[in-house]
């Protein structure tokens, strides 16, 4: 316990061993793990207290996190990384893996996000899952997820991280398929699993390669020794880590599972498939900064993947009518931004994490809001069956609007601060990438406005027997909290306590980027693009429907009538049709091409399996013949190796 471990990120900096309040670090994981244990093994006895136990476990973890955070704030920047060794896991041949926790500013940020947003979502789920007979199990899985996710971000060794990595995958898988009576849910769970396995294979190979090159898998050894390793190896490891990140974070080309993952209960979508788990890939890349620093090729690959995904996700978001799938496409796109930033190196790491945190707030907010709507609408997810809901769910609407303004990046909402920084950094790096990021912001504004209009404004298109009602307090309170965070979270993180960039600097480093033009120009341009996106959406979805159902606005609509007509035509010809066609083909490519690739591999395996199976005739004589054949081969092989 007293061994002084060293963590080298970019420079050699001694890391303090856990003492004082830091001795509690392990409690962060212990609470939810214990909760999961009690709930999953306790059986029906714990049915009645399940939701309370689950929520308290998550809350306790958050309290510990807050205490640790306060203490960390009081420390000097270079003393903030603390290592808590727990036990020796693997003393294998030459491979020493000791399980230890590393709490530094980067993991602290994640811990606060996971436990904070996690607790809010636990509270929300009490109401959302109230009528589900398996609520206790649901909370057990949620706690399991929180524990695994905390292990992932607190690990001080890639192998331990891998344990958390698989753990969150398992929890995600269990929760996507939670409503197993729906065939689609079971299929989605399976798809998520299969696609994730591809990513996990990257992770396995990366760990193997690290071990081969560095002789260890501990962060200190790998990241500290990265500058002494050839660029080729770093590139290989970097690309493998990227593959892992793509799987977990639904990045191109492994993004297809995330849309289907929406089959899970909505709180799950909010916690796992928006706020936390899917951002693990970003964490992995940022944490492995030292590797990417020596592998420019891998770094470029990260940028490319991020850019493609951010545009693709946004376009997919435009085409969906299912409210959760729009949000899922948007999640892909937003994580694309983070990955893009993470690919920019120290210039972008802090911004990637910054956007990750703000996205955690507003996307969880939006998902929970969507859940509240579904709760009110008898689990309807088709936005074409919504409309005019703002009067029936005023609280939800308010918080949803905060999330909406945050995601499209309206100042001073949270998303503005973080997305703007990423677009800046992208332009500083490459004009094309910057343009894509800017364009993405516009499309984001478009599809989010469309979602807003179709859900909250426009006329009622409800199914006949629906009686919309506001959700209970236990659901709206978390919404209010998240709405508030969507409003002020970004600015708060940027301007208090030295700011997020300064906070992360000891871990990820900092690098000034040189913009080819003044910052205000870019900010203005971004805002213009956003406004354009909003306007476009309004013209397409707001105007027509408003004209039909909301006579109070007719005057406003008539003043713009001519221009609207013209705009409509332009929209139709220049934007909508190609856009829709592009969207359509992308969706097609997504659901057919990639699915087919996945299915193709499966079919190939199944086919060859069937073929090989036929060899198994059941006749002893053919078995004996195959043995004889094998023996002849073995003899010939041995003799020919030597005698040739």
């Amino acid at each position: 316990m007293s061994a002084l471990t060293t963590l080298d990120v970019r420079a050699v900096e001694p890391v303090a061993t856990a003492g004082g309040v830091y001795a509690w670090t392990f409690l962060l994981i212990a609470f939810p793990a214990l909760g999961a244990l009690v709930l999953l093994l306790g059986g029906r006895r714990t049915d009645r207290i399940g939701h309370v136990v689950g929520t308290l476990a998550s809350l306790a973890s958050f309290v510990v996190a807050a205490l640790l955070f306060v203490d960390m704030l009081g420390r000097a920047a270079e003393d903030r990384a603390v290592n808590q060794p727990l036990f020796d896991w693997l003393p294998a041949a030459g491979l020493q893996v000791s399980v230890g926790l590393l709490l530094d500013p980067l993991s602290m940020a994640f811990v606060l996000l996971i436990t904070g947003v996690g607790t809010l979502i636990h509270v929300y789920s009490i109401g959302y899952m109230q009528h589900d007979p398996r609520r206790r199990r649901f909370f057990g899985y949620l706690n399991l997820f929180v524990a695994a996710m905390l292990l992932l971000v607190l690990a001080d060794d890639y192998l331990v991280l891998y344990v958390g990595w698989e753990g969150v995958g398992l929890a995600s898988y269990l929760l996507i398929g939670f409503w197993q009576h729906k065939n689609s849910a079971a299929v989605a769970a399976k798809k998520a699993f299969v696609v994730n396995r591809v990513g996990d294979m990257g992770m396995t190979l990366a760990v193997m390669a690290m071990f081969a090159v560095f002789g260890t898998t501990a962060f200190s050894g790998v990241l500290g020794g990265a500058d002494q390793v050839s660029e080729g190896w770093l590139t290989v490891i970097g690309l493998l880590l990227l593959l892992a990140a793509c799987g977990k974070s639904a990045q191109f080309p492994l993004q297809s599972w995330l849309l289907d993952a929406m089959e899970g209960p909505t709180p799950v979508s909010a916690l796992i498939h928006a706020a936390t788990m899917v951002t693990a890939g970003v964490y992995l890349i940022v944490r492995s900064g030292a590797i990417y620093a020596g592998a420019p090729l891998a770094q470029t690959a990260v940028v490319v993947v991020g850019t493609i995904t951010l545009v693709m996700g946004a376009i997919i978001g435009c085409a969906k009518d299912d409210i959760k799938r729009v949000l899922a496409g948007s999640t892909m796109s937003q994580i694309g931004y983070m990955v893009l930033a993470a690919g920019l190196g120290p210039a972008g790491y802090a911004f990637a994490i910054f956007h990750l945190l703000t996205h955690g707030f507003f996307k969880a907010n939006l998902f929970l809001g969507a859940g509240s709507v579904m709760h009110a609408m008898d689990d309807e997810v088709d936005m074409r069956r919504y409309g005019g809901l703002r009067r029936y769910l005023p609280l939800t609407f308010l918080t949803f609007a905060a999330g909406y303004l945050a995601i499209i990046g309206v100042p001073p909402f949270a998303g503005f601060w973080s997305k703007d920084r990423i677009i800046e950094a992208a332009f500083a790096d490459n004009l094309l990438v910057g343009t894509c990021a800017l364009l993405g912001a516009g499309i984001t504004a478009f599809y989010m406005t469309r979602l807003m209009l179709m859900t909250w404004f426009s006329e009622r298109r409800w199914k006949p027997d629906v009686h919309a009602h506001e959700s209970p307090l236990v659901m709206t309170l978390p919404l209010l909290a998240l709405g508030l965070l969507s409003l002020v979270g970004g600015a708060a993180m940027l301007w208090t306590a030295g700011g997020i960039v300064e906070w992360l600097e000891p871990v990820v480093g900092e690098e000034e980027h040189a913009l080819p033009f003044p910052v205000w120009v870019l900010t203005a341009a971004t805002l213009v693009v956003i406004v354009a996106g909003v306007a476009l959406a309004w013209m397409r979805y707001g105007r027509e429907q408003v004209a039909r159902t909301a006579p109070t606005r007719v005057s406003f609509a008539t003043t713009a009538a001519r221009r609207d007509l013209y705009g409509d035509a332009v929209n139709e010809v220049a934007l909508m049709r190609p856009g829709q066609r592009l969207t359509g083909s992308l969706v097609y490519a997504d659901s057919r091409g990639l699915d087919r690739a996945v299915n193709g591999v499966a079919a190939l395996m199944g086919g060859s399996s069937g073929l090989l199976r036929r060899v198994q005739t059941g006749f002893v004589r053919s078995y004996a013949l195959s043995m004889l054949g094998g023996t002849v081969l073995v003899v010939v092989a041995l003799l020919s190796v030597r005698l040739s």
Binding site: L90, A189, M208, F211, M627, R642
Partner: protein, 518 residues
Amino acid sequence: MTALTRQVTEIQSPTIEYGLLAPMLVVFGAAVLGVLVEAFLPRRVRYPVQVVLSLGALAVALGMVVTLADRVEVAAEGSVAIDGPTLFIQGTVLALSLLSVLLFAERRVDPGGDAFASAASSLPGSEDERTLTAQRVQQTEVYPLVMFSIGGMLLFPASNDLLTMFVALEVLSFPLYLLCGMARRRRLLSQEAAVKYFLLGSFSSAFFIYGVALLYGYAGSVRLSDIDRAVSEQVGSEGLLLAGVALLTVGLLFKIAAVPFHAWTPDVYQGAPTPVTGFMAACTKIAAFGALLRVLYVGLGGLRLDWQPLLWAIAILTMVVGAVVALTQSDVKRMLAYSSIAHAGFVLTGMVVVEPAGISSVLFYLAAYGFATVGAFAVVSLVRDAGGEATHLSRWAGLAKRSPLVAGVFTLFLLAFAGIPLTSGFVGKLVVFLAAWQGGAWPLVLVAVLASAVAAFFYVRVIVLMYFSEPAPEGPTVAVPSPLTAAAIGLGALVTVGLGVAPAPLLTLAEQAAVFVR
């Protein structure tokens, strides 16, 4: 003639180190006693006496192996080697045999009694059989049989010369051939399995003994150390040596079910009574790997440049065929059979590297795999319908709803097979792959990782089936086992989790054990 006479007069009475051989002697002694029990005790008391005798002997033998730890000696005039790998494998086999005998003794799951036919000689479907079943006649001959087999398994990896090894091979195999044909349910399938196993097993034994003969022709001795010396001094004809090595290896690869000598595995695993299948899948494979390790490392270490490429090819074939064919299996026992083939491939991956790290990783993997295997087959024996065990996978749909506990435990074992972290299987795969990678066999590791990804798929398919499918209306019931099976499953699960969370002690032990005596 004079030379012959002189040799004869010089015969000395050999010395036998009884202390070192004690574990094997205890097991064989218990087996012989078991035969006497069958002969002289009344039917009523045979069952408790046999169970207590077998379990007691196994426990005593295990204790003796523990006290022998750290001994590195050659015993019985050089025919038996007591060293780290021997003792590690003997300990593992004994521990797993204990669990298996617990399963053999289970009498509460099947309405007819235990898993074995009332009289193996009665004609399936005959009046004879019906009467015996109605009278609830139970036979107890399986206990001495299994004890003989265990004794052979203890000697197999310890054999320091090829003749002893051959004798051990036959001693472990013959009782197994019989045990395979003794299932209470689906007797024709069981008898077919026994005949197949017997025919192919004798075929492989023939290869083995042929290889021994050729090696004797080359080296003038069957002792492994002498063969090693002959190889390094390069006496005699290379053709003889290589052909001998090939045939000998084939005999051993048959026992570990490596492709292309695996064809018997699915049929035999499916047909044999489930406790026997679990015992075979775990213990036979472990003992055979021990023997293969000793032959390749001690006797043929100097030839590794010749057999390494061969083992590479066989490892790749074994992993790929095992994992791929398992995908389309619809019977849970056959699926586990192919899975065991794939696992043999993974273990071979670790053996390719002739280094202590390779040995220790293989030893650890075998132990981890063995406990999960016995546990998994024990679970299979619990899921039943009117016709006995419901082994068709479609019958397992929605099992989690009927019996969350059993489904959960089975999931644990499957996850261990798939190599998910925090289970023993993960640590096992990790150390094996790492050892292979370090030894320069990275293409093999690549294939292994791919194969385990494929393998993960069919394990998960079963989990999906158990958790996410609607149970069939007239699905199987999960029998409530006696404490015997419950203990076996519990211990298997405990070790599987324990080795995943805290593998350090066993890994250290395996590392210390990774030295052969020569």
